[in-house]
C-alpha cells in the first residue's frame, strides 16, 4: 500500500499541508500510473504508459449520514446499514477544532454507529467554553438513538479528544463508556474547567516550546515533567472500562508515551490495570490516523489566530506501519468489547 501512505505534496507545494477528506459522501480518487524507466521527477510532463483510476471510500454502501444539532451539540452521526441496533461511538478529534467526519464514517462502515463531534471552531480552542457536560450530552445523544444499543457506547479520541475521553471515563457520573480508544492522549490536567482551560493550562508552560531546525514548534516539553501530584492529573484509577492507548514514541507534540507509563502506574496502584492495553510504536508520531493515510511529520496549525507549523513527529515508514497495525488492533478491541456476547474483556 506504499503508493498511498507515502504520498506527499508535489514539489513546489506550500509548506505544512495536511490531507484530510472533508466530504465523505464521495470517494477519494487516486490515479495509479505506469511510467517508462526509473523516474523521480517531472511526472506531469510525461505521458504514462498506462493509468487507472481508483476510488477510496470512507463510507460503505448503505451507511447513513445524519446531521446532529440538538441540545447545543453539533456533530454528524453515521449509522451502519441494517436493522441494528448497533454499538455506538463518540468520535473526537484534537486541538485543531472543526468537524472532521471521516473516521466516524469509516467506523460506521465497520458496524459502529459513530458520531463525529464538533466541540470548537478552528483556532478557538483556548476560548472554548465547553465543560464536561457538553460531552456528556453528546454521548447521551448517541446512547439514546433508537438504532444504538444504549449499554454499548464507547469513546474514541485523538489528542485533545483522547484527553476528553480519559476525563469522561474517570470523572463522569453520567457517562458510562463501554470502552475507550485513546490515540496520542494524556491525563495530565486537573479536574474541572472548560476545554479552553485545559488547553491554556498546557500553554502556561509555553516557555518550554522548542523550535527545530525548520522553525517548527515542538510542544512536547510543555507536558513534562509528568506531575507526581495526583490532583494535577486525571484520576485514572477510577476508570472502570477497558481502555486502549495508542501512542508513537517519536511524538513531538506531546509526551504521550510518558503519560501512558504514568497512567499505567496509577492504575496498577489503584488495582484497575487489567483494564489497560497500551500500544506503542517506535518512530511513529502524534497523528496516528486510519491506515494508508499519508504521514504528516509537521503541518500548519492555528495558534492564537497565528499560523504556525507544529512538529508532530514520526518517520514515514514506521508511522505508516503503526497506522496499519493500530487500526487492526483497534477494530479487534472494539469488536471484542462492543460486539462480543460475553462481558467486556480488557486485554487484546
Amino acid at each position: 500500500m506504499g503508493l498511498l501512505w507515502s504520498m506527499r505534496p508535489v514539489p513546489g507545494s506550500r509548506e505544512g499541508l495536511r490531507l484530510r477528506k472533508l466530504n465523505v459522501c464521495i470517494p477519494q480518487l487516486v490515479n495509479i500510473s505506469v511510467y517508462s524507466g526509473h523516474v523521480g521527477v517531472g511526472f506531469r510532463e510525461q505521458d504514462p504508459l498506462a493509468s487507472v483510476l481508483t476510488e477510496r471510500w470512507y463510507m460503505a454502501p448503505g451507511v447513513r449520514r445524519i446531521d446532529i444539532k440538538e441540545k447545543g451539540v453539533r456533530g454528524t452521526l453515521f449509522i451502519p446499514h441494517g436493522p441494528g441496533p448497533f454499538p455506538g461511538l463518540l468520535d473526537m478529534w484534537g486541538g485543531g477544532g472543526g468537524l472532521l467526519e471521516y473516521r466516524a464514517a469509516l467506523l460506521a462502515s465497520h458496524g459502529y454507529a459513530s458520531m463525529a463531534l464538533e466541540y470548537f471552531n478552528p483556532a478557538e480552542v483556548n476560548t472554548a467554553e465547553l465543560e464536561l457536560n457538553y460531552f456528556e450530552t453528546a454521548f447521551n445523544i448517541v446512547r439514546d438513538h433508537p438504532q444504538v444499543m444504549s449499554d454499548r457506547v464507547g469513546l474514541f479520541g485523538l489528542s485533545l479528544g483522547s484527553i476528553v475521553s480519559i476525563s469522561l471515563a474517570a470523572w463522569s457520573s453520567v457517562v458510562k463508556p463501554r470502552c475507550c480508544v485513546c490515540i496520542s492522549g494524556n491525563h495530565t490536567h486537573a479536574r474541572g474547567g472548560t476545554i479552553g482551560d485545559v488547553f491554556n493550562e498546557f500553554i502556561t508552560n509555553v516557555h518550554k516550546v522548542r523550535m527545530d531546525e525548520n522553525n517548527y514548534e515542538i510542544w512536547r516539553g510543555m507536558g513534562l515533567p509528568i506531575p507526581d501530584d495526583i490532583s494535577q492529573k486525571v484520576d485514572v484509577g477510577k476508570i472502570n472500562c477497558p481502555i486502549l492507548l495508542v501512542n508513537g514514541d517519536d511524538d513531538q507534540n506531546w509526551p504521550t508515551v510518558e503519560s501512558a507509563e504514568d497512567m499505567a502506574q496509577m492504575m496498577r496502584a489503584a488495582g484497575n490495570e487489567h483494564l489497560l492495553t497500551r500500544l506503542e510504536y517506535p518512530d511513529a508520531g502524534h497523528l496516528i490516523e486510519p491506515p494508508y493515510s499519508p504521514h504528516f511529520r509537521a503541518t500548519k496549525f492555528l495558534k492564537d489566530g497565528q499560523k504556525v507549523i507544529l512538529l508532530w513527529g514520526g518517520t514515514t515508514k514506521p508511522h505508516s506501519d503503526a497506522q496499519e497495525d493500530s487500526w487492526k488492533k483497534i477494530l479487534a478491541f472494539l469488536q471484542q468489547n462492543m460486539y462480543s456476547s460475553s462481558g467486556p474483556r480488557a486485554k487484546l
Binding site: 498506462a50 487507472v52 460503505a60 446499514h81 460486539y339 456476547s341
Partner: protein
Amino acid sequence: MSMKPLCVKLSVQPSRGLVDEKFTILVQNLLPGFQLTIHALHQCEDGHSWEAFAHYTADATGTVNVSEDPSLDGTYSGVEQMGLLWSLRPVPGSKYGLRMRKMNVQTPMVVTISVYQGHRTEGFLDQVLLASVMVERWYMAPGVQRVPITDGKLTATLFLPSGPGPFPGLLDLWGGGGKLVEYRAALLASHGIASMALDYLTPQITKETGKMVDNDYFETAYRVLEQHPQILGSRIAMLGLSFGSTVTLRMAVYSQVVKLSCAVCISGSHVQPIGGGLEQILASFSKHAYKTRLDENNQVIWRDLMLPIPTDPSLKVDMGRLQCPLLLVVGEDDQNWPTHESAMDVKEMMDQAGNSHLLTVLSYKNAGHLIEPPFMPFARASTFKTITNPPTKVMVLWGGELVAHSRAQEDAWRKTLVFLRENLYGGMKHGASFSNL
C-alpha cells in the same frame, strides 16, 4: 441453539466491486453451532425482486465464512463463495420466464446481504433480521468513459478504459433479441479493452427505414474503432454471442475491411447461407422453423433448426480461410442452437484446412446457451421477444443446469479475458492455441 446472539457482525468485502470480482462474506459473533440463513436480495431495473439464500451452521468460534464453509441447503449447497449471486432467482410469486439484464451500466447493481436466525426457506421479509449490508456490483470501473456513438448511422456505445491509451479495441455483439446491450462491453473496458456495444438488429436506422443493416454497417463500426485516437487500429477483436457469433465469423473470414487480431464466439455457429445479408440468414432460420420442438413445459427448443450441420459449403462459413485466433465457447446442453455440434464441425474444417492451430474450443457439460459474465443469475428458459414484424413473445428453452452453467460462466470468462489479453496486449506472435488455458 435458538437463543438470539446479542450482536451479530456481518461483513462483505469488498463492499464495492466489479461484477466479476469475488467477495468474502463473514458472519461473526454467533454462538457456536448457531443455525443461520444468509440471504441475498436484489431488485432489478424492471422492478422484479430476485433472491438467493443458504443455510449455515456457525463453527466453534461462532463464525461463518462463506468462502470456506459449506451451505447445507438453499438455492445452492456446498462451499460456494459466490453462490449468493449466481443462484439468485425471482422471488416466489414472480412472473415466469424472467431474465436479469442490467441496461443502465452507469449505476451499480445493489445487492442486500442479510443474516436471519435459523434455517429459513421463505417469508424472509417477515422474519427478524439479525444483520444486513449493502453491496454494490459495478459493470464500469472508475475512470471508464461511456461514449454514445451515432456516426455512420450506427447505434452503438463505446466504452474507453481508464488511462491515456491507446487501447486495443473490440466490437461486442449480442444475439437475436436485438437492442443495445452495454454491460459486457462496459466490463471489458474495465479490463482495459476499448469496447463498442453495437445494436445491429434494432438500430435507429432499421427503425426508421424498416430495412435490416448490411455488411457495411459492421465495417463502419470496425472503422470507427480503427480510427479512434485512443484505440490501436491494428489490435481489434470481435466478440459475439449467439447471432452475434454468426456475424463475427462472417466478418472475420469474408470482410475485406475487417482485420481482426482475434475473435471470440460464444454459443454461436458457422452455419449460415454465404453471400446475402442478415435477412437471408434469418430467412433460412424461418425456412426450418418446422423443426421447432416443444419441451414438456411448452418451452421452445430451436436447436434442430440448424441440424444437421450441412456439408454444402455454401451453407456455412469457410472456416479454413480464417486467419486469426478464434475462441469458441459452447454449452453442451444448449437447447437453442446446436453449438457443440457446430464447434466440432468447425474443428474438422480447420483440421482439414491446416489452420486448426488458431482454434480453441471451450465446451461445457450441462451449460446452456446464455453464457454470460460470471456470477450472473441463470435462466434455463425465459421469455423472448422476436424481432419480427410484428414481434411475438415465446418462452425459449436455453438449456443448462444451474451449478454447471454458473461454473461454466466463471471459467469461460476468465479464459476469455486471458485469450483477449494475450492476443490484444501480447506480442505480435499470432496463432498460439490455448491448450494451457
